[in-house]
Symmetry: C2
Subunit: 441 residues, 2 copies
């Protein structure tokens, strides 16, 4: 019998746990779901005979250690910053770990120790990062197998609202952690463009847009995401002159979001001590040059070098940042105040579904140049089994199964780049309707 | 006999230590100068009979504790982040502390404990913060004494090169910690303008300039510095509709500096792993949209919306950021790379002197409106006794003397705002040529 530990029973765990429970009835698995809320864990296991729910305080190292010792494999959906401590415990007790988080330098530093202990610390095995790696590596390996050379690699992914529920001027609703959305783009993005390393500081991130045409959805827009240079060597695409990973939004979103950035409303570096003495309007006034409240809209438009009747300005107004509504937070950063407002405005309502869109555009040469387009559009099943929960949780869960079935011989700190991962995982994902359409143009 | 401990024997300690040694021969003082370099400490005490030099590893808590226990008062010129730990030791052993650093929330939190122990933790007692407080509070107290109400408070200070050695297009040389200069303006500034709280994010800091006319120097420019709102209550100027503290530069500096900010070259948030594979030119190219190296100057000017023949663009070129010179750092942030370049270009050469400029402009009403202008211009004595070392070190040293002479009954965490401080310190500073010219207009 094999024992699997799932750390975290939040929103994103639904699909992962459902998959494990379904498998458990066929193979000899026992699942433990641990969460700070035992009730949340209980809800997720839904009375399964193969699973139990436990309450866990992740700050309690002894408790975490005891749990890890009793299991064969750990799947963690906890906040990324907790993963290095968990990985250390996994190495100490020779248990494999699967996460959907980016590999940090601290995680990477555990590689030798993990390999020596015969442990696999598999990270970046969710959606983005995760499915993007799986699907890209399948194409890249095929190109290399036919003697081709990748010359350009662009990959975009976005978590959006399904078109039938897209009814606001931003064409966006929160389908994932709102804080991550508000704080996206606070770091300098790095990528390769025609052989030149490019750095895009946060202030220009939402101005450097790529048009991304997606079959059935029209033209979306993508902005550069984090450090694309990091993937050149792992992907084996040193021949590429252009390497860009980006985030997708519906057209017009980035221009308007950039206005919030320009205004300073996404600033998370300082706390306003008595935020509740402000209205949204007086907060805006604090960031816009000048003092005459009567003409705040005009001053804002002028400051942003924007037509007051433009769609972008309408989006700002629609959010309510010009309204005299009091701010309901006692002490908060501008980003926290904005997030609270957006959570009301960009709420995915009861019965509404999300959508995941991913697109790779890969150019390569053999005796002639080629372009491969690979697209994925996934809509949510329900409000519990969202497209986001399914596309993050299923790759993790399937990878866990492969590891427990001894199908994976990779050890140490890894991303799912090898055929051992992408081949079986992509096949099984397609049984859940997560299927790329690929064409060469 | 009273024992004084000076922590730190760096550049800024010269005037402070000289003053203490001079006093020591008249009063019954013994001075210990502790530094990570015993040699630096020995050079500063210069064979004085009243002083000794010790080597100190500030990370060694026991060593620090032993030293503090043996003295009656501690003057610290160590990096600000070390001051809370030192302050805790001072409370534990009932010793007074004097620093020139800003009061952080962590320092402020020690107030009750310090007061209970009968200890004074005097901070912000250098130049800025320091002399600005002393000179402003003298004026503000006088206004209040005649029943006036302060309506506007603006105060500017800058460390510059003396005009006779000002021979570069930036009209600036490093006269103080270069890293602090490069990283100035990475936080949102806060101030009060016509009754409205104003936040200026870093990206606009060097665009929001105030003209500051200084007698004999012409029109300089000032940009908002940190959180001016913090001083409204301590200064007792709740009646003011405008409260702004700023940093002074020669005219044209901020416009050109803002270009470096816009380019991303002051970014200290990410590390370039193989910086030595870049030239200054290829680094610039990484930040400017486009890829054609041949027309990098034109692309840069266009990106910055600047005439390529403008003075501001000339300043950039003069720095060498368009040059094909290799970068000599293996691994560095853009800000660190820029700093290394600026340290060559903005070097205060052998025999050149610095200058401190401070200006307060205070408006108040009695039965009618008044404006008081108070100005200070101090030039360096020599390369050791710079204007900066003198104006930072002397207020600290004089405050220490007053405390040891039991002239100060204030306890807890404090700034030098009270008459007990400003009256004797300003009088003694004037004997060193540090004298404000005050006029009412």
């Amino acid at each position: 019998m094999q024992h699997i530990l799932v750390l975290g029973a939040g929103l994103s765990s639904s699909a992962l746990i459902r998959y494990l429970l379904q498998q458990a009835s066929q193979v000899d698995w026992r699942i433990t779901v641990a969460d700070v809320s035992k009730k949340a864990a209980e809800q997720k296991i839904d009375g399964s005979l193969y699973a139990m729910a436990v309450q866990l305080d992740v700050a309690n190292e002894t408790e975490v250690q005891q749990l890890i010792k009793q299991h064969d494999l750990v799947l963690s959906l906890l906040p990324p910053m907790l993963h290095v401590a968990i990985a250390r415990q996994c190495i100490a007790h020779q248990k494999h770990l699967v996460t959907a988080s980016y590999i940090t330098p601290e995680m990477q530093a555990l590689h030798q120790d993990a390999a020596k202990a015969g442990v696999l610390l598999l990270n970046e095995c969710g959606l983005d990062p995760g499915i993007d790696h799986l699907s890209a590596m399948k194409i890249i390996d095929e190109i290399h197998a036919q003697g081709g050379e990748v010359t350009s690699f662009k990959s975009f992914c976005g978590g959006l609202v399904a078109p039938e529920f897209d009814d606001n001027p931003w064409n966006y609703k929160f389908t994932w952690n709102p804080r991550n959305v508000v704080l996206a783009g606070q770091a300098t993005a790095k990528y390769l463009e025609k052989g030149i390393v490019k750095y895009i500081p946060p202030r220009y991130l939402f101005e450097n847009l790529q048009e991304v045409n997606v079959n059935g959805l029209g033209v979306l827009e993508g902005y550069a995401n984090r450090d694309s240079l990091n993937y050149i060597t792992p992907y084996g695409i040193e021949t590429a002159h252009t390497v860009l990973r980006g985030t997708l939004r519906m057209k017009g979103f980035c221009e308007a979001w950039n206005l919030l950035v320009k205004l300073g409303l996404t600033d998370d570096t300082f706390t306003i001590e008595h935020a509740n003495t402000f209205t949204y309007r007086s907060l805006l006034n604090a960031f816009v040059p000048g003092t005459n409240m009567e003409v705040l809209e005009q001053r804002t438009a002028q400051f942003l070098q924007l037509d007051i009747n433009s769609e972008a300005f309408d989006k700002l107004r629609w959010l309510g940042i010009c309204d005299k509504t009091p701010i309901a937070l006692a002490k908060a950063t501008p980003a926290q105040i904005l997030q609270q407002l957006l959570q009301q405005k960009w709420k995915l309502n009861e019965g509404e579904l999300d959508m995941i869109v991913m697109k790779h555009e890969i150019q390569y040469t053999t005796d002639k140049p080629h372009t491969i387009i690979s697209e994925l559009v996934v809509k949510g099943e329900s409000q519990q089994y969202t497209a986001m929960a399914n596309t993050v949780g299923l790759p993790m869960a399937i990878a866990a199964k492969l590891i427990l079935l001894n199908k994976i011989d990779i050890r140490g700190v890894a991303m799912p780049l090898h055929k051992q991962f992408y081949e079986p995982i992509l096949i099984e994902l397609s049984t859940f309707g997560i299927t790329f359409s690929e064409k060469e143009i």
